[in-house]
Amino acid sequence: MGVGVCALAALLGPVSSRGAGFARPDESITAGSAHHRPKARRVISLFQSGGPSQLDLFDPKPSIFRYAGADMRTMTDLGMRLTEMTRDQGYFPVVPSAFEFSPSGQSGIEISSLLPATAAIVDEICLLRAVRTHAINHDPAITFLMTGSERPGRPSAGAWVSYALGCGNDNLPAFVVLSSHGTGRTDCQPLYERLWDSGFLPARHRGTGFLPDGDPFLYLENPPGFDQSSRRFMLDMAARINSRQYHFQGDPRILDRMRNMEMAARMQTAVPELTDLRDEPASVLRRYGPDVTRRGSYAWNCLMARRLAERDVRFIQLFHTGWDQHFHLPEQLPRQCADTDRPTAALIEDLRIRGLLDDTLVIWGGEFGRTPYGQGQYRHDDFGRDHHAGCFSMWMAGGGIRGGRVHGATDELGQRAVSGVVDVHDIHATMLHLLGLDHRQLKWSDDGRDFRLTDTGGRVVHPILL
């Protein structure tokens, strides 16, 4: 095979360090390198799907205990965008949190007793208490957070970043997606591929899903009865005959496809090595908690996020479902937190210890928050909250973010953002900024129209930056 393979190598040229090692038939389709000096090289997005209750986790409202159960409409205007689930309910009881908050870390940021591990790393994070969104239903709200638009068809944030910066690794995709199911509420929200789609961007920027069962990446493993030596032979022979066709046709896309076959083959070896946890010390595994060895758990995904970050994968997107506490919040929320608190904090610590936190931006949050008023019957130990777009909490850490800080505040009832308001497009703009990208310049023209992740909005939230 020697001659053919050498000739092939000459034909394909050196492997590019950007764009996941794929050729680009048309140079104009890449955005070019960073616009300014980046603080972060990669992003880990820990998306908590369903709408985590900020009032029970991050945004304490001690003064509302005296109003508990009072009809909130007598105290404030609820606005008109209430969901169909609560808009017609007879009264809107003020519902104080069922959980204690206490000051944590050197910064003394108040964190709920449900998140002891997060409280322990609070000095690393910047808590945004006044995030706002528009949609009040899951699907459009998640789509908005992930793609900058409530309607389908736009590239996801990870796809934009892959497009702009490519991958730091030639054996793995630039944008990897891992999902897990929460135990707080198990019949909760499904996920949709549009949340990691490349939209109108070239398809190689689409997120690659990491599945909990079967092949980690779709169609990764060789078929039964077809071993690695057969694969290698098949790839070399296909390359020889395909380069012959290239010789006749001259079509550069043939070379692209040959490179893609090689990339596919490299993924076949890189992924088993990635998922093999035998090289993790027991002390590290312990830090992520007992779920860490169960593939498809949030803990396993967090560990995988660190391993992907080490391998310079550009955008690592986690999804964890189950945060939709319309009812029985005091019973469900502790389970959600038990799933996620320890692994999340372990990830931050693990990144920090390895020196990766400095250039890895970590973002934690859901698509919206939950209402300060109750949904359905209210008892102090059994209540629910509806979707709330007017204000909710997210946090960011690492990658140029100022830790141990709170940005933004909500009103006394937790109904509205009153200062330090951050819109979803501001999150996007800030994330791109830290990656060295100007959100106004990162554009793609589709069918004659320019599109941005931040659409016509987006401001970089400077006070939270180092």
């Binding site: 169909e84 239903n137 009865g225 509806d386 069918d447």
Partner: protein, 677 residues
């Protein structure tokens, strides 16, 4: 005035008197004329004609989505008479597979799917509409009628179940059933989707920009947006809910999924018997009849609910929505239905009160756009890209055509032929432009990567449907049945589970012949699209898509390398080759003839000597491998348990079939399989 909104004018064509007295194709004339106008770089004439075999495969894949059948190959390759090529094209155009291919290409623009697309993504049953489209193309329904019925089949004179079924086009959008979703909000989203989809599919316009406010450079104003929107706002819909009962709904049987005659006969016979039977026998007959009816019902023969268009008795007035928001109608700005004023001359404003008026104007000669947009998509079907490369934007942001006269000539040819789509295919395929060889020098590829100037023939990577259907056809396992409810061919089991709400949604894998139906019948779950199909096309059917994505990815390579569907086809193909030539030759000679035949199956031509040698090298490698590990051989060929199951295995035939299957599968990873060229 922008080029696309001037009424097309028929260019004069010089057709006669070429040296041999042979007529020049008008397509060729107009291309050459434009080259002349463009000057030096373009005056080198057409590339040589591709070989007969290449043209045969090219035509077959583009027109039917399948490789040519053996009979097509023989009759064309043996036919040296005048008009042989035209006869071949006509054969493909008359094949039922033509309607399936045309319908497949209509599905992404129509954002057709078998689920609702929001959140839990419930199943719906719009598939009789998909069958209506297949049937319309195969029956030769002219494109003006095709247009009119889909836009206004409920309003046309003599409207019936079939014409109303056509209007399902405008209900194929997503539908939100999330608890808590506001009906007013999503009713507006639904209407906007209809208006914007119709504008893109038939007019090549991106209306959406004008939804929120006027833009300085956009000729469509916000008010005009809501006038167009008003055309689609009059149906009595709730706005949210599940697709299956979402009014207005018509219970309809598919035109291609009729009760099988023998079952109908049996039912009739039961009726007759019932009339005369005694009481005891009567009870038994009634039970039998009821059970049969129940089965027919569950298999969709008795009709399923299809969302269609039907005007409300008392429609409410549409207002401009401030900032495009559903809850901010501007009471001072009510609008009546209409189309953007840039589309007509002020002295000759069409009266457009409803969708029927819209449809009539759409297919009239006063409309500058629809015929152009349609022939552009047919061109795209053959060349991979349209004459207007931005197939969804004929407006100022789009790319003007490199061959404006050719586009206009084709548009008028479409209208003057009575909107005959087959005619347009014929004029394109009978041109020297289309028949050119597709190879070119690297320098030429570099200077014109998208073949905008048509200096070479078409070449593009096949889509996911054509790749799988081709594999099954060559293997001899494709099921040619046409129409019916969607089917569930293999896909990775964990995919639906991973992203479902409770982690338990199982994929209801089909069985038997349903596993081998053409890919247009594959169940399309909108939020988790079938990976093999979406992975090669980029379309997810969440919204209207008229551009055909040609991006190549490593994921596609993994599909071709490892998807069990291709392994199964390779094993079945090997089994067929072995059965066809099993006479007592010596093993190596037998293999040489199998591989020779395999190459012919794929390319309609003999393998070049070096390729044959390389594939034989592969054969020897795989044979050694499987002879040394017979268990691996059995494991590999087990991928096809349904077709090779009746072969008699011994260790020797098993390793031979595994080796040959490995070669066949290698062939499925070659450009000659992956691409049309």
């Amino acid at each position: 005035m922008h080029w696309s909104i001037t009424i097309p004018v028929r260019p004069s064509i010089f057709q006669g008197g070429d040296e041999g007295g042979k007529k020049i194709s008008p397509v060729d004339f107009l291309v050459a004329k434009e080259w002349d106008l463009q000057g030096d770089g373009h005056r080198h004439g057409f590339q040589e004609r591709a070989s007969k075999e290449v043209l045969l495969r090219r035509a077959s894949l583009a027109l039917t989505g399948l490789p040519p059948a053996e009979a097509d190959v023989e009759s064309f390759l043996l036919d040296d008479g005048p008009g042989a090529f035209e006869r071949m094209v006509d054969r493909f155009l008359a094949s039922p597979a033509y309607g399936e291919r045309m319908a497949w290409l209509w599905m992404a623009p129509a954002r057709y799917a078998d689920t609702d697309g929001f959140q839990r993504d419930a199943f719906r049953s719009q598939w009789p509409w998909r069958d209506w489209v297949i049937e319309a193309f195969n029956a030769g329904m002219p494109l003006d009628r095709f247009t009119t019925l889909q836009l206004a089949g409920d309003l046309v004179e003599g409207a019936d179940e079939s014409t109303v079924l056509a209007t399902a086009f405008n209900r194929n959008h997503r539908l939100n059933a999330e608890a808590g979703a506001l009906p007013q909000e999503f009713r507006v989203e639904n209407i906007a989707d209809r208006a914007e989809t119709v504008a893109t599919v038939w007019l090549g316009l991106t209306l959406g920009c004008a939804r929120c406010h006027d833009h300085p450079h956009d000729p469509v104003t916000q008010e005009e947006y809501y006038r167009f929107f008003a055309l689609f706002a009059g149906i009595p819909e709730k706005g949210t809910g599940l697709g299956v009962p979402a009014a207005p709904v018509q219970r309809t049987a598919s035109p291609l999924h009729r009760t099988p005659p023998w079952i109908q006969d049996h039912l009739n016979q039961l009726e007759v018997e019932l009339a005369t039977a005694g009481p005891e026998r009567r009870t038994a007959l009634r039970i039998e009849k009821a059970e049969l009816e129940k089965q027919l019902e569950s298999e969709g023969f008795r009709g399923v609910p299809v969302m269609v268009m039907k005007e409300s008795d008392n429609p409410s007035t549409v207002h401009v929505l401030r900032r495009g928001q559903y809850h901010s109608p501007d009471p001072d700005r009510p609008v009546s239905p209409g189309i953007p004023s840039m589309l007509y001359h002020p002295d000759n404003a069409p009266v457009i009160r409803n969708r029927l008026d819209l449809a009539r104007w759409m297919v009239s000669r006063q409309n500058p756009l629809t015929a152009r947009v349609m022939v552009n998509r047919i061109w795209q079907q053959h060349f991979g890209r349209g004459l207007v490369e931005t197939a969804g934007n004929f407006g100022s942001g789009g790319t003007p055509p490199a061959f404006p006269e050719l586009l206009d000539w084709l548009a008028l040819e479409l209208i003057d032929s009575g909107w005959d789509h087959r005619h347009i295919h014929r004029v394109i395929l009978n041109s020297a432009v289309w028949q050119q060889a597709s190879g070119a020098s690297p320098a030429q590829w570099k200077s014109d990567p998208h073949n905008r100037w048509l200096h070479r023939g078409p070449s593009w990577r096949l889509d996911g449907a054509a790749l799988r259907d081709q594999a099954m056809a060559i293997a001899g396992i494709l099921d040619h049945d046409i129409g019916g409810p969607p089917v569930f061919p293999p896909q990775p089991e964990g995919l639906w589970k991973a992203y479902s709400d409770d982690g338990a949604l199982t994929y209801p894998l089909s069985s038997g012949r349903d596993l081998y139906r053409r890919s247009i019948y594959t169940f399309w779950k909108r939020t988790i699209a079938p990976p093999r199909l979406a992975g090669f096309s980029g379309s997810t059917r969440e919204k209207c898509e008229v551009d055909i994505s040609k991006y190549d990815t490593a994921q596609q390579s993994l599909i071709l390398m490892n998807d069990p569907v291709f392994i199964e086809a390779a094993v079945a193909w090997a089994g067929r080759l072995m059965q066809e030539t099993s006479s007592g030759l010596h093993s190596e000679k037998r293999a040489a003839s199998w591989i020779h035949n395999a190459w012919e199956d794929l390319t309609c031509s003999e393998p070049p000597e070096d390729i044959h040698r390389q594939l034989m090298e592969a054969w020897r490698f795989f044979l050694r491998r499987y002879q040394s590990d017979p268990e691996a051989a059995m494991e590999f060929i087990r991928a096809d348990s349904s077709h090779s199951g009746n072969m008699e295995w011994n260790a020797s035939t098993a390793s031979e079939q595994a080796a040959l299957a490995a070669v066949c599968h290698l062939v499925m990873n070659l450009e000659q399989f992956i691409s049309l060229y």
